[in-house]
């Protein structure tokens, strides 16, 4: 419900930024149609064709052909060694991961990706926005706070994983254990029990611990984006809002937030991408039980010795691809629909 609400607001937000450029584009297009081909001289056409064909070819070669091959491989059973061993398996791999022996892993992984998405929206995004709002008020030492919050962003998530594993989440000596353990050892990353459980699926405690570690980094990222947005807001808007008697919340909700629409679009896209591509932090923590993500299942089945069946790994990859392409299609259609509507 709530995720649906977020993106739908971005549709509207996308309008004003894109409308201007779109007007230009459409007038150019119209001009081109009016003039027809005759406006292009021979060399223009060659340049035009080259500019069209070269990127298209490269894109098709390195993106779409491998994608299609992956989908084809997902319909086979293959150990990845010799092509002669490749057997056609029809939908057997999908049957295994969706209905069969790997069902539990697969759906828990999807659920974890969903948790990640929801968490990033309601945790780091709101917190980052809040921090940005505070820092925008030119409080004393603002630059210092800004640097402090932003510092984790320069670290890769893999490094974040190591830092939290050893400094915060150590069972005996971790800072988190010291602060919240009440003198007892706490298995932050080892506790695979579900916080809430529906029918064998749920949100495991160790995954929540990983989410918190991710938030440590992601919050700073979001904060900087919103801070940049807030800095560019015309001060007279705030001034007139206060003259009109808006309180703090009203000013933010009805004046500042609407002007931040372009930032919101970026944040939504970043968050969705981050949630779908998340991989490294879980991987470097040895993928504690019940923290599997689709990307981890794919990798585990495609590389290393565990990769006895490239087909199954490709099937996982295909499912991940379908989720991604679903988002991309939704985004692109909405984006263009808004453009068309605004023309």
């Amino acid at each position: 419900m709530t995720t649906a609400a977020e993106p739908s607001s971005t549709e509207e937000q996308a309008e004003p930024t894109t409308a201007g450029s779109d007007d230009q584009a459409s007038t150019q297009e119209a001009g081109g149609q009016r003039g027809g081909r005759s406006q292009f001289v021979g060399s223009d056409r060659r340049v035009f064709l080259a500019m069209l064909l070269i990127p298209t070819t490269i894109h098709v070669l390195i993106v779409w052909i491998p994608t299609v091959l992956s989908i084809v491989l997902s319909l086979t059973k293959w150990n990845g060694i010799q092509f002669s061993d490749l057997e056609w398996a029809s939908f057997e791999n999908y049957d295994q991961i969706i209905l069969g022996a790997f069902q539990q892993d697969f759906f828990q992984a999807i659920l974890n990706n969903v948790w990640l998405l929801l968490f990033l929206f309601f945790g780091p995004t709101l917190l980052g926005m809040f921090l940005a709002y505070l820092l925008d008020k030119s409080i004393r030492g603002g630059r210092i706070y800004q640097s402090v919050f932003y510092t984790p962003v320069v670290l890769s998530l893999a490094v974040v994983g190591f830092i939290w594993q050893n400094i915060m989440y150590d069972q005996e000596f971790g800072l988190a254990t010291w602060a919240f353990g009440g003198g007892e050892n706490v298995a932050w990353l080892g506790n695979q029990e579900f916080l809430f459980d529906f029918g064998g699926y749920g949100l495991s405690k160790n995954f929540l611990a990983i989410l918190v570690a991710m938030a440590w980094r992601h919050t700073g990222y979001i904060m900087v984006l919103y801070l940049a947005g807030l800095k560019s807001v015309d001060a007279s808007l705030k001034e007139s809002a206060s003259l009109d008697g808006c309180n703090e919340w009203q000013t933010f909700r009805h004046v500042l937030f609407p002007t931040l629409k372009p930032i919101n679009v970026i944040v939504v896209v970043i968050t969705v991408i981050e949630a779908l591509r998340a991989f490294d932090i879980v991987y470097v923590l040895n993928t504690p039980r019940n923290t599997e993500l689709l990307s981890i299942l794919t990798t585990d089945n495609l590389i290393g010795e565990g990769a006895d069946n490239i087909g199954r790994g490709s099937a996982y990859a295909t499912m991940l691809f379908l989720l991604c392409i679903g988002f991309v299609l939704w985004y692109v259609t909405n984006h263009y629909r808004n453009q068309e509507a605004s023309v």
Binding site: N79, G80, I81, Q82, D85, Q96, G100, A101, F102, Q104, F162, Y169, Q171, E172, N185, A187, W188, L189, G190, N191, Q192, E193, N206, Y283, V284, N286, T287, P288, R289, D300, N301, I303, G304, E305, G306, A307, D308, N309
Partner: protein
């Protein structure tokens, strides 16, 4: 441990300094003896390039020439130095050895890609089931002739068995360690404990230790391989070596009563283990052993790495206690590393000579003299430098009726991952074992 450890450690990666005495036959004589032995090889269609092999098919040392490339994943300082010393001591002057060093974890991750188009002629790999995916795909060369020609004389049967797939040998064993229950003698002396012979003795000991306020067993299962060690021990003590092999190959069921009995026994000693094992690295569990906070730990000899050199004498181990008189303590878990020849080596004759040399006591002595942490399989290896622990481990393995490799080396790696997940689930909630085993069995059926 930094990085992802989804597999038990390799013998070549572990090491600790040791001292002890016992001297057997000099290795050099073994090489000499082997050189005059000829064997019926099966490399008739060998297409060696520039090698001295005249194509007669018999394996003979000292006949090769040219350059041979040896791949190495011995990326840690000591093993790397030791390996270089071994290759420098290669007796055939006509052969030039080029060493190609690959990072250890990278090598393991990319083994399939590596073997498909191998840059080297000779490469490091593991014994037993881990050979199967590579050997069955035709990525390794059959080196049975090296065995019949030479290694049969210097290596005992268990090592040959672990190097064999489908009746042919593909590996030359190089180093190993063994699993058992490790403890500190001083801690046990202070509480008056002695190694138990059987299961009841172990339970009694655990109760007594707990009564004295000492946690009996250290337990850390981060990476999900360490718990496999305990499972293996209970399984082959209870059901025997053959059941272990059949279960790993998918010929016995995880929902079988015999398998369930293993978990029932495991559940009996589980309360005597450190809590929350899944989030603890084995090193942290081992550190508790070093510090005397826990009494013992089911782990490989490599736990000695954690002990300060001067306290190593205090570390001892005993084989897992008997659970079933029919099988006694006839099985030892001892992961073996070795060398293979790739399917189409550029210089077959020289490659075979190199691996044959690796199997000799001479080469293994040279290795141990620099990297003394592990044990070497060749008869005639100078064990005088072994410490008590190594000595005990080596004797145990040499005298064992059966040698297993470890769960993650005795079955398909993909299935080992699933078993590791299942064991983590069991440790988290032992009461859910029936559902866990049903799930694992369905995965075994899908994978094996």
């Amino acid at each position: 441990m930094s990085g992802r450890v989804q597999r038990s450690p390799n013998p070549s990666r572990v090491g600790f300094p040791l001292t002890r005495r016992k001297f057997l036959v000099g290795g050099a004589s073994a090489v000499g003896a082997a050189a005059v032995l000829a064997a019926c090889g099966s490399d008739d269609e060998s297409t060696d390039t520039g090698a001295g092999d005249d194509g007669s098919g018999a394996f003979e040392m000292g006949t090769a020439s040219g350059t041979v490339r040896v791949g190495s994943n011995y990326s840690d300082a000591k093993p790397n130095e030791a390996l270089k010393a071994v290759l420098d001591s290669f007796p055939n002057e006509n052969v030039t050895i080029e060493l190609n060093e690959v990072d250890h974890n990278t090598y393991q991750e990319q083994i399939v890609a590596y073997m498909q188009d191998p840059p080297d002629d000779v490469a490091p790999w593991f014994a037993a089931y881990r050979l199967v995916p590579l050997a069955s795909a035709g990525l390794l060369m059959d080196i049975s002739d090296v065995w019949t020609g030479m290694l049969d004389d210097v290596l005992s049967g268990g090592f040959k068995q672990a190097s064999t797939y489908d009746g042919k040998q593909y590996l030359v064993p190089w180093t190993f360690y063994s699993w058992g229950i490790h403890y500190r003698k001083s801690v046990w002396d202070s509480v008056g404990a002695t190694p138990p012979e059987d299961w009841d003795g172990l339970l009694a000991l655990c109760n007594e230790l707990q009564g004295q306020g000492i946690t009996p067993f250290a337990s850390g299962n981060d990476g999900r391989w360490p718990a496999m060690g305990t499972f293996d021990q209970i399984n082959f003590r209870l059901n025997g070596y053959q059941y272990h092999v059949d279960l790993m190959a998918g010929n016995e069921s995880w929902t079988d009563d015999r398998t369930k009995e293993v978990f029932a026994r495991w559940a009996e000693i589980l309360p005597f283990h450190q809590e929350n094992p899944n989030g603890r690295e084995w090193q942290d569990a081992g550190q508790a052993l070093v510090d005397g906070e826990v009494a013992m730990m089911t782990i490989g000899n490599f736990v000695g790495d954690l002990f300060p050199a001067e306290e190593l004498d205090d570390l001892d181990f005993f084989p897992f206690p008997t659970l079933n008189d029919e099988h006694g303590q006839d099985t030892v878990e001892a992961p073996i590393d070795g060398w293979v020849v790739v399917a189409e080596p550029a210089n077959e004759a020289a490659a075979k000579e190199v691996v044959a040399y690796m199997g000799t006591a001479d080469a293994q002595n040279t290795y141990l003299s620099i990297a003394p942490g592990v044990q070497a399989p060749a008869e005639g290896v100078d064990t005088s430098a072994y410490n008590a622990l190594q000595q005990k481990s080596a004797e145990l393995v040499q005298n064992a009726a059966n040698v297993t490799q470890f769960l993650d080396r005795d079955t398909l790696p993909a299935f080992a991952n699933e078993a590791g997940q299942a064991f983590a689930d069991f440790l988290n909630d032992p009461s859910g074992i029936d559902a866990i085993l049903e799930d694992l069995q369905s995965k075994a059926e899908a994978l094996l």
